[in-house]
């Protein structure tokens, strides 16, 4: 009887250990969360804490975007750029008082995109520059020269360049056979576009844009 109890306890300990080991926290990677989560928090390699809100429907991000283009990445240039802290601002005050000075450095990449098709905004046939910081790139799809995407973009007047606004839903990859690969697949609205023709996806986005224009 006593031997049975001891053995049962050992089995329970082992079982508990296996279950515990299985309950690992998952760290966010560069893919959209599946299943859908309304929001998530990640921290970048430099220590920035980022709250990500995830769309349920395609029209949410299409309507939010100021610009939507199909484009090819034709160049990528890594940069270290100064951020001059303006006099009289809180950031300047604490940076100087702590002895850190009035200039900080931001590291990132300029991606030059040849616009092949302008779906929203007037960017047809232009070469535009989209900027991502090094930290941004740690949780976004890896972009390479030669790749084509449908980009959903905003304009940042502080840096004078285009930027994305969602790490996953701002990108629809277009492969060599002109099929779309969705980066963000967390809801049906997005996942059903996966492997669809570029023309079909473009039309769907255009329909939303036109509905938004009234």
């Amino acid at each position: 009887m006593k031997r049975s109890i001891v053995l049962a306890c050992c089995v329970a300990v082992v079982a508990g250990a296996v279950v515990f080991a299985g309950e690992r926290a998952k760290s966010p990677g560069t893919a959209s969360p599946e299943p859908y989560v309304e929001s998530q928090v990640i921290e970048t390699p430099s220590g920035f804490r980022v709250h990500i809100r995830n769309p349920k429907r395609l029209d949410e991000v299409v309507n939010y975007a100021k610009y939507i283009v199909e484009g090819k990445i034709v160049a990528a240039e890594d940069l270290a750029e100064p951020i001059s802290l303006q006099e009289g601002t809180p950031e300047r005050a604490i940076s100087e008082q702590s002895g850190m000075g009035a200039v900080q450095t931001r590291h990132g990449t300029n991606y030059t995109i040849q616009v092949l098709d302008s779906i929203k905004g007037q960017l047809q046939d232009q070469k535009i520059t989209m900027y991502l910081t090094d930290d941004d790139q740690s949780y976004r799809p890896k972009l390479s020269v030669g790749e084509q995407y449908i980009f959903l973009l905003d304009w940042n007047d502080a840096i004078g360049r285009y930027v994305d606004f969602h790490p996953y839903a701002s990108y629809f990859k277009v492969d060599a056979s002109n099929k779309v690969k969705t980066i963000y697949k967390s809801t049906t609205d997005f996942s059903e576009l996966d492997n669809q023709s570029f023309d079909k996806v473009r039309q769907k986005i255009k329909d939303i844009v036109q509905q938004g224009n009234g």
């Binding site: 082992v14 220590g47 804490r49 709250h51 604490i94």
Partner: protein, 228 residues
């Protein structure tokens, strides 16, 4: 029939199994690399201490905090100051080692160009070592003096995520980084189970929105890291 020796062997065997399964491991450093199963950490340490009490000393200048960040600052400060962590968090205008500021909108757009209502940076802590070098990467941490003499915490003006918990938990979490605590949710680095080992340095736990108070995990990490 089990003899005492056999029972003891079984007990030791069980304890070894528990150890291997991943019970909470402490002392999560901010910067580390992993090669196979080997984790190499950079042991950054806050050097400021109260010479009378021996506790870690964080003297905060908060005059540049605005709006809800200023409103809920005291909640986050007291959360740490009154906890069992051997550290003192007080506000001061002299001998300051930690500055906090609600940044300007223009600065935020320059430092975080992709920031939007979809993807929002709430705050950032810049730690700097005794040479005045800001530590923001493994490489810089590795090349640093490892002795952290100060911190600047920048928080976002008018964030979209603006619940009371967001303000309290962001500041409380950043105070953990001031003491050089790293994240405790990373799958590759002894993650703390949010159910059995809550930790405000874990995003998995913070996502539950249960508490912004330093947990036993933080107490043990600080004690392990600083030899208390």
């Amino acid at each position: 029939m089990f003899t005492a020796k056999k029972r003891l062997s079984l007990l030791v065997f069980s304890m070894i199994l528990i150890g291997l399964s991943g019970t909470p491991a402490y002392a999560h450093e901010m910067y580390f690399t992993k090669n196979g199963s080997t984790i190499t950490t950079v042991p950054l340490r806050w050097i400021n201490k109260n010479t009378s009490t021996g506790r870690l000393k964080v003297l905060i200048d908060k005059q540049y905090l605005k709006d809800s960040w200023a409103t809920y600052f005291e909640d986050a400060r007291v959360a740490w100051h009154s906890s069992n962590v051997p550290a003192e968090f007080t506000t001061s205008s002299t001998s300051v080692n930690t500055y906090m500021a609600t940044a300007s909108a223009d600065y935020w757009k320059q430092r975080f160009p992709g920031d939007s209502s979809w993807s929002e940076v709430m705050g950032v802590t810049d730690l700097y070592d005794t040479n005045g070098t800001v530590i923001d990467s493994y490489a810089k941490a590795s090349a640093s003096t490892k002795q952290i003499k100060g911190a600047n915490i920048y928080v976002k003006p008018n964030p979209y995520n603006n619940s009371v918990f967001d303000y309290r938990s962001t500041m409380s979490h950043e105070f953990g980084h001031v003491l050089c605590l790293g994240h405790s949710h990373l799958a590759e680095y002894s993650p703390a189970n949010p159910s059995t080992d809550p930790s405000i340095m874990s995003y998995d736990y913070l996502a539950l929105k249960k508490s912004y108070l330093p947990q036993t995990h933080e107490v043990n990490d600080v004690k392990a890291m600083y030899g208390y």
